[in-house]
């Protein structure tokens, strides 16, 4: 009965009368919107819709295929579609194509690279000050993370391996979890654990509460070996024997850890036990944040009683699903990506302050630094060289390595720093700064770096042209850079520019490419 009611409810929603969406006469907006809603029957949507109804919020329209294409490519694999991938998807009339594209992207090899980068931000994978993992260990850690994602390791197993890790920083990479902290004290470690796995800033807790949790991390030992910069993380059983742990879990439950037992195991057992909401909630919320651009609890590492979820029922549902699916991250992603909520356009139909928190439109945000430079390289057929000279011996990353695949937060470039790549000092999501600034715009508009990429681009040089750009050439440029077909109007604008006499021949195409690369449509995930 309930299911029928749900379906009927959705059907009602699907009729245009249910929501007064954006008006029809927006030629340009049709680039970004699709008429009507294509509500997939997805169990996320009713939770979101219920909130809209309650608050009288009007949602945005469905996003267009072109927007969907670019959005999922960037959101799932941090990579632009190629022009042929774009062309193929946009011309496909399979009504199921969005769902199938999601499945394909979840299986792409770039998936592991991109999500190892995102996890690397959270886990603070960097060789240098102030984290000081050391280059070999940072790279080993990244490889382990990437491999875990590749094999779609359940998140609880991933967490347990990190929490109970021991061994050499080079040979047992998850042991770096206990080294990738600014302070290797029990409190410092406890704060890192709380931030990473509970989405919580324990430095704001009352001291007693933090100390109670810190007890579980009070028997972690570190020792060096004869090998340069090797460090072993271990359970200091000898110390534990003389100084037993009396820990207090964050929920108040107390525990005397038996002398022979690693208290970290006890903590992991608590955190990952079926009834414990902390972990599932933090992971579900973070997954939503990563894909949607805004957490149900925002910021996603600031879960606390006075920062409630904007939609508690939705969060509870996602939590439950994650647990029921045995902490399968890809399944959760699939669920979110297939919702109509995820597939709304960015053109707001309601500018109430609450609409944003209720996901009534897709929040536009500037491309992440690594994704940005990789996209510029992919489009122009160029590459960046990454290296670092500290510490010695120098590290040179193989040419052609993409920024999303950089294995060490200390290896950066002027571009990446300028565009807000996180320094990975704290592991907080806010360390990544996607704010658009004048120096970024100046760089994109007028730097030698970008100018040379365009001028030397073999792709641009090889786009077939007549005396000037043809509609076909213009189309190829649009598909490559913006991942969509140009409108008639846009083709006219480009043709007029090439006929204006300011530029000769292929320069017009270069300037068109330049203009598109400098547009908000390119720079923003939308």
């Amino acid at each position: 009965m309930r299911r029928i009611a749900l379906i009927c409810g959705l059907f009602l929603l699907a009729s245009p009368a249910a929501f007064s969406g954006p008006s029809a006469a927006l030629g340009a907006a049709d680039v970004f919107q699709a008429p009507g809603y294509a509500w997939p029957i997805n169990r996320i949507d009713p939770f979101v819709v219920a909130k809209w109804r309650k608050s009288g919020i009007t949602p945005a329209a469905n996003c267009s295929d072109a927007v969907f294409l670019r959005r999922v490519y960037l959101g799932v694999i941090g990579t632009l579609p190629t022009s042929s991938e774009a062309r193929e998807f946009l011309l496909d009339d399979d009504p199921d194509k969005r769902r199938k594209l999601i499945d394909r992207l979840l299986d792409r090899p770039e998936f592991a690279d991109y999500w190892a980068m995102k996890w690397g931000d959270v886990l603070r994978v960097k060789a240098e000050f102030p984290i000081i993992l050391w280059p070999n260990a940072a790279q080993a850690y990244t490889h382990w993370i990437r491999q875990s994602i590749r094999e779609n390791k359940p998140l609880d197993k991933f967490a347990r391996e990190l929490l109970t890790a021991g061994g050499s920083n080079f040979r047992m990479p998850p042991s770096n979890f206990y080294r990738a902290v600014q302070s290797k004290t029990p409190r410092g470690i406890a704060q890192a654990v709380a931030l990473t796995f509970m989405g919580t800033r324990a430095d704001k807790w009352p001291e007693q509460r933090l100390d109670g949790m810190a007890e579980f991390f009070s028997q972690v030992g570190y020792k060096s070996t004869g090998e340069w910069k090797e460090e072993i993380v271990f359970f200091n059983q000898a110390r534990a024997a003389t100084r037993p742990s009396h820990g207090v879990f964050p929920d108040g439950a107390e525990m005397d850890v038996p002398p022979g037992r690693d208290p970290r195991q006890a903590f992991a057992d608590w955190l990952l036990s079926p009834g414990n909401e902390w972990f599932a909630r933090a992971m579900a919320n973070r997954a939503w944040f990563w894909l949607m651009g805004r957490g149900i609890v925002q910021e996603p590492d600031d879960i606390r009683p006075d920062n409630p979820p904007s939609n508690p029922e939705l969060l509870k549902y996602l939590q439950g699903q994650l647990v029921a699916d045995h902490y399968d991250m890809k399944r959760l992603f699939r669920l979110i990506l297939n919702s109509q909520t995820y597939q709304l356009s960015c053109i707001r139909a309601d500018d109430k302050a609450s609409a944003e928190a209720q996901f009534a439109s897709y929040p536009i945000r500037r491309l992440e630094a690594e994704v940005f430079i990789d996209a510029l390289c992919q489009i122009t057929g160029s590459s960046e060289d990454y290296s670092t000279e500290t510490p010695e011996p120098y590290t040179f990353i193989p040419t052609g390595t993409r920024a999303i695949a950089l294995p060490d937060g200390s290896i950066s470039s002027a571009f990446l720093d300028m565009f807000g790549r996180p320094p990975r000092d704290t592991g907080m999501q806010s360390e990544r700064n996607n704010l658009a600034t004048p120096d970024q715009r100046l760089h994109l508009l007028n730097s030698n770096h970008i100018r040379r990429k365009l001028e030397q681009s073999k792709w641009l040089q090889s786009v077939p042209m007549d005396n000037g750009p043809s509609p076909a050439a213009i189309t190829e440029v649009y598909l490559t850079i913006l991942s969509r077909f140009p409108t008639e109007n846009e083709i006219q604008i480009a043709m007029r520019y090439s006929e204006s006499g300011v530029v000769q021949g292929r320069e017009a195409l270069v300037d068109l490419a330049w203009a598109l690369l400098n547009s908000a449509e390119f720079a923003y995930q939308h």
Binding site: D425, M428, R441, I493, N518, E521, A523
Partner: protein, 452 residues
């Protein structure tokens, strides 16, 4: 030394291409968020002590020979002074300098010479770090250089504004150490690239080579026409930073903001007297930047590492230095800027006073950290003085040693920077602008004798 600026598209992380970090709302970007635990990190400037507003640093990269420039030793004999055995008297009685610096000799009243600089280290990177941070490397901290510290105290937090950053390097990066140190890349210098002696000074980001102003404007119009998302969301507040940023960028590209780098606005005769070389014109550009309000400018002049061909190189480079620096001092003075602009000139160390006649040097000089010279002028430094003395051969300090922290601390004082203040540190560690007595850093004392 590998070039930091690889024009095939790769830019290494070290200290280049960092232009202004003001977001649309005027808020500072931080990509280091963990200043948390430092109690008071608001940089302070002591207004009452303030004499200087800007600094021009002429960095003679490689280590210039002190006895061939500002501390001649003809009495030590040919094995020490080589063919340069007739130093000239300056216009200040008792002060003589190299015969290859006749123009500077006429302006000795404007500058003072420190002949007892010392740190004792002969490694380029270590010495370059030491001279420009005041501290010896190796205690686990990477201190910021003087330019980064001035950029911190006199830059955006102190009310400096605009896309031209407060710390500029003309025209190539030093590449010896991280100028910003633990302060983070926000305080790295902006390296202009380009060549001011060319028809168009192609400053990175301001001038795109091969693109006329007409095309810049035309393609800007094209951009506006095809900026479809932006045009579809005219009222969306999330795009405000994006839109405002464009206006600021174009002020530099097509507007007045970039004109500071347009040297064609200067009289020909003045440009000629600076010297029509990259270095000479960089000095002119530095004067313009000072007028524009930029607090710290480094002119990176390379080629002083004269292990070989020392005297040939001196004959080639010293006249260029002479022309440019003497014109800079008189130009600043004529415009009433010298009193508020510190000029300091020197390198990471000096060079071996005893000439290495033997192969493979064949008349060269090696590195020499125990004793070397610096020239300082303006911004509250008195002119016409000599601080300290070297011994008869120029090998050791004889009187009044001056360590890098003494010179740097003196500059900070003249700039009104509180030398006892803490520097903001990403982990909240207690680190100070200049070394405190309990840090055990050798000091000869601030340059009180030449500070007004």
């Amino acid at each position: 030394m590998n070039a930091m600026l690889d024009f095939d598209g790769s830019i290494s992380r070290r200290g280049i291409l960092r232009l202004g970090l003001i977001g649309a709302a005027g808020a500072l970007l931080t990509n280091r968020l963990a200043w948390a635990s430092a109690p008071s990190t608001q940089p302070t400037v002591i207004a009452t002590k303030l004499r200087a507003k800007s600094v021009i640093q002429i960095w003679l990269s490689g280590g210039p020979s002190h006895v061939d420039t500002f501390d001649p030793k003809p009495e030590a004999g040919r094995d020490y002074c080589g063919p340069l055995d007739k130093p000239v008297q300056t216009n200040v009685p008792g002060i003589r300098i190299s015969e290859l610096l006749p123009l500077l000799a006429k302006q000795a009243d404007k500058y003072s010479l420190i002949r007892s600089m010392t740190h004792g280290n002969n490694g380029h990177e270590t010495a370059a770090y030491w001279v420009q941070t005041g501290r010896e490397p190796g205690n686990g901290q990477v201190y910021p250089g003087v330019g980064a510290v001035v950029s911190l105290f006199k830059g955006y937090t102190a009310g400096y504004s605009g896309l031209i950053p407060p710390y500029i390097v003309l025209t190539t990066p030093q590449g010896r150490f991280s100028e910003a140190g633990f302060l983070g890349s926000k305080y790295s210098p902006f390296v202009t690239g380009g060549d001011p002696a060319q028809q168009r000074f192609a400053v990175e980001g301001v001038v795109a080579q091969g693109i006329t102003d007409e095309r810049q404007q035309a393609r800007r119009d094209l951009l506006h026409a095809v900026d479809t998302l932006n045009n579809t969301l005219p009222d969306d507040p999330r795009l405000i930073p994006w839109r405002n940023s464009e206006k600021q960028a174009y002020d530099l590209i097509l507007g007045d903001g970039g004109k500071v780098f347009d040297l064609s606005q200067e009289k020909d005769a003045l440009r000629t007297s600076y010297g029509r070389t990259s270095f000479g014109q960089s000095c002119l550009a530095a004067r313009r930047l000072v007028e524009h309000g930029v607090p710290y400018i480094t002119i990176n002049n390379e080629g002083w590492d004269t292990h070989k061909q020392n005297f040939e190189t001196m004959r080639r480079k010293l006249p260029e230095l002479d022309k440019a620096l003497s014109t800079l001092l008189s130009d600043l003075s004529d415009r009433g800027l010298l009193d508020s602009t510190i000029v300091w000139c020197g390198g990471e160390f000096g060079r071996t006073p005893k000439v290495q006649w033997e192969a493979p040097w064949n008349g060269g000089r090696g590195h020499w950290g125990p004793c070397f010279s610096m020239l300082v002028a303006g911004g509250g430094f008195k002119g016409g003085q000599v601080v300290g003395e070297s011994d008869a051969k120029g090998e050791q300090v004889k009187t009044r040693p001056v360590f890098p922290c003494d010179l740097i601390g003196s500059m900070y004082e003249l700039l009104g920077i509180d030398t006892n203040a803490r520097l903001p540190h990403p982990q909240g560690l207690e680190v100070y602008v200049t070394p405190r007595p309990d840090e055990g850093v050798k000091t000869g004392g601030r340059l009180k004798e030449i500070m007004s």
